[in-house]
Symmetry: C2
């Protein structure tokens, strides 16, 4: 059995191997790991699909669809060496016999390595694939299964999937991926908090006024109207990504960086989220849906005019929530969560808004301190603070200290998927969601879904290219705050 610090031989089976995620994200990330010498030379990728492409046909597709997404220029020799690792298997996910064949193919290749099954498929295949893997004996101690979201559409369906997976794989073989957790800036937030004393005494209700977490997309539903109609922003973004980021900000120092030490602390945060009553949802949650508008000067249609979207759809394309955490560190500090499609720009960031100084001594601008952790489009960490205006007056002015997290030590910036895939290969679970976290997250969002379904609430309209409905701003102004904006 391989030690987590080893660089093990592996077989990675990519279900949904012809899909978008594999082409645009996974293969480019794996190529980066390959050229960086991070992969064992015996490591192999087995793309799996329903169609009869053959290896040559699949590699043509990879050339056309994956290679353009490689960062920088993929040198020809390196690219060819990478492609040598790739094979293609035609496989029907619902045919147990096919998995026997898969088991034989893998056994023939490599008896002692790690076997990784990446389920980049529609969720309805998760259960049959896991069952067929188990039936074929591909669920041994060296096997790992990677699940991409969405893991269900509510607590019940999530439980159904997780229970079926649990019948086939032990919890420590299950890697529920959330690529936001693989970002350097998120990792750096942990380092900032727990490798420095600087922030620790500040990181609490006495000094922090509020926290904002935004994941904004400028894209719309991009042809995935059918999927999105049954999902909406709450399920698609809040239940997983936003709550995971909230955990990273709010968690107590873990006893170690071991997977379960970290995940125990995250779970404590999720379980401390103040449950929302009907009245709370009405006050603290804003659903929005985009109308027609423009993104960077390009006219874009309303959500209801997208393909496969009902003309009277009440699916939310925007959510803003005021969340609270009922523990000693955070009681009374609002965590404002916000996500939406067709926003003014693609942006993901965490803003820690500190309280004002107790007494304002200096003339001049006097904005309270802010720590801004930017995850998208770039990753960086910036501290907005006050410094003296040079010159004779004793006045202060705003200034920014910036930590370019991707270029420290001239280190190469690892893409989130690259990092997470390597973690899977190395058996590091810390950045993947544990089942109980998922349950706690679903439990917290359930009253929000129920309220909107029960009252058939019409989402508030907002113009495509804006920052969402006015009610989302009002949510903060009620707390004497405002969404972070930069000039």
């Amino acid at each position: 059995m391989s030690h987590p610090d080893d660089n093990p031989v592996f077989d990675m089976v990519l279900f949904g191997g012809t899909g978008d995620l594999v082409m645009r994200k996974l293969l480019p990330a794996l190529f980066q790991a390959h050229v960086s010498g991070q992969l064992h030379e015996g490591g192999r990728f087995w793309a799996v699909g329903r169609r009869d492409l053959g290896r040559a046909g699949y590699l043509q597709k990879v050339e056309a669809e994956a290679r353009p997404h490689v960062n920088g220029k993929a040198g020809e020799a390196a690219w060819q060496a990478f492609c040598e690792r790739i094979d293609y298997l035609q496989l029907d996910a619902e045919d147990p016999a096919a998995f026997q064949q898969l088991a034989e193919t893998l056994a023939a290749q490599n008896e002692r390595g790690v076997a990784i099954f990446y389920l980049s498929t529609a969720p309805r295949y998760f259960i049959p694939i896991c069952r067929n893997l188990a039936a074929a004996g591909l669920n041994g101690a060296h096997s790992r299964v990677v699940l991409e979201k969405p893991l269900g559409t509510d607590l019940a369906s999530s439980n159904t999937i997780n229970e079926a997976v649990a019948e086939c794989f032990a919890e420590d073989q299950v890697y529920r991926i959330d690529h936001y957790l693989g970002k350097e800036a998120v990792q750096n937030l942990l380092a900032l908090r727990f490798a420095n004393v600087l922030f620790e005494p500040l990181w609490q209700r006495q000094w922090i006024d509020s926290v904002q977490i935004t994941i904004a997309e400028s894209l719309g539903v991009e042809g995935r109207g059918e999927f999105y109609e049954g999902t909406g922003a709450l399920r698609d973004m809040v239940q997983n990504h936003l709550l995971q980021l909230l955990c990273m900000v709010a968690m107590e120092p873990p006893a170690s960086l071991d997977a379960d030490a970290v995940r125990n602390e995250k779970l404590k945060v999720l379980k401390s989220l103040k449950p929302l009553s009907e009245a709370d949802v009405a006050q603290q949650v804003v659903y929005g849906q985009y109308r027609e508008g423009a993104i960077r000067g390009q006219a874009v249609p309303a959500y209801r005019d997208e393909a496969n979207v009902a003309p009277d759809s009440r699916t939310e394309t925007f959510v803003a929530i005021k969340a609270e955490i009922n523990n000693w560190r955070w009681a009374g500090v609002p965590f404002f969560l916000r996500t939406g499609k067709r926003m003014q720009e693609k942006l993901a960031e965490i803003v820690v808004q500190f309280r004002d100084v107790p007494l304002q001594l200096f003339p001049g601008s006097a904005a309270p301190n802010r720590l801004v952790i930017r995850l998208q489009p770039d990753e960086d960490i910036r501290l907005f603070m006050q410094a003296k205006q040079p010159g004779n007056a004793m006045a202060v002015t705003s200034t920014v200290l910036s930590l370019d997290v991707c270029n420290i030590d001239n280190g190469r910036h690892a893409d989130a998927y690259q990092r997470l895939l390597l973690d899977v290969i190395h058996g590091k679970l810390a950045l993947f969601m544990r089942r109980d976290e998922l349950v706690a997250a679903w439990e917290w969002v359930t009253p929000i879904m129920d309220y909107h379904a029960r009252h058939n609430i019409e989402p508030k309209p907002y113009m495509a290219g804006s920052w969402g409905p006015a009610a989302a701003s009002a949510l903060l102004s009620k707390n004497q705050s405002a969404w972070h904006e930069e000039l």
Copy 2:
């Protein structure tokens, strides 16, 4: 009477007008204030000296000795306009009649302005000049007197000067200058502390391990051996500059930035300094004296071989002290003070050494956080902290956040003397030492002087071009610390 925020008409009388300080520092700083439009157009400078130079002769000297010290290039027109403000008066500081004439000259020029008397002379003239000014009626409400160090050589002689000055001028007319307090980085330390919440919860014994304050010079006594023999590093640097900087680090938040609110807080720090017993001095103070060595590859002589220095001199050219502050914020936190001549480089800095994190979670380098406020040769503020090493490992590495205090907002960096001279013109006393501060500082250093005199202690030798005697390092290693060094 002029409001402090006004830009008043003034007459500035520079006693010691042909001296080094006036030529190398004061006139260049005043020229910068002139070209920056910070001086009332009616403002005049009256250089005073014993010799009969005449205005033309004096301006020749200014051209030769002051103009080369102007930052950047002094444009001809601006320089000539500045020189128009300058006149020269031959005056014997000990001749009362001459001051009557001075009074008439000033009265003829400008009846309603501020009159500033800058005593850039040997200290023995301070008392006669003040008395003669008073006798000539030049000590009215619009008069201010600026005193350059050294203000005495011990508590008694300092009291003698201050009492004589107090007979002639009210305390709020007296500006005791310490140019370190005029530096942007020192001002910025106040802004960092009191215009941001970031540092306040950290700024105490729970989170700060120790503080280092260094003022190192690479120069030797530079022909001033006679003066230095009777002074030494403790009187020359510790009693004033180092203790003032210590006050800026350690003071409590003042109720306002008014001069007395700030100076009351500084006084509280000086009065809280733990008095040093004989045993404490023996343990916590290191005197050093430089031997021959080399500065940047240039051989330099030993202190005892300098002109006008006794061959068996026991004057200290280096002092290191472990000081402590007995109050709730700082009890138990050592403040290491260090100053010396013929050190490896010219350097003035304050280093706030934070404690280590309570538990080290991350592999990799793990230096505790440091805040370094550099005053010389450049002014900047840097935060040494830990960030994640980019890439797959969850390891941390040291990184530096830097605040270029002189270039915020592209503001022009005011020289310390420029700032302080403008403060004198505007009647702002906050950055000048009050008499009671001086007394408290002398009281604290007195046991150190007494101990060395009583026991006729031989200073520890150190090589010119080094960082002082080994005992100065031992002072810190006893506290599991080390002087801050950069690669």
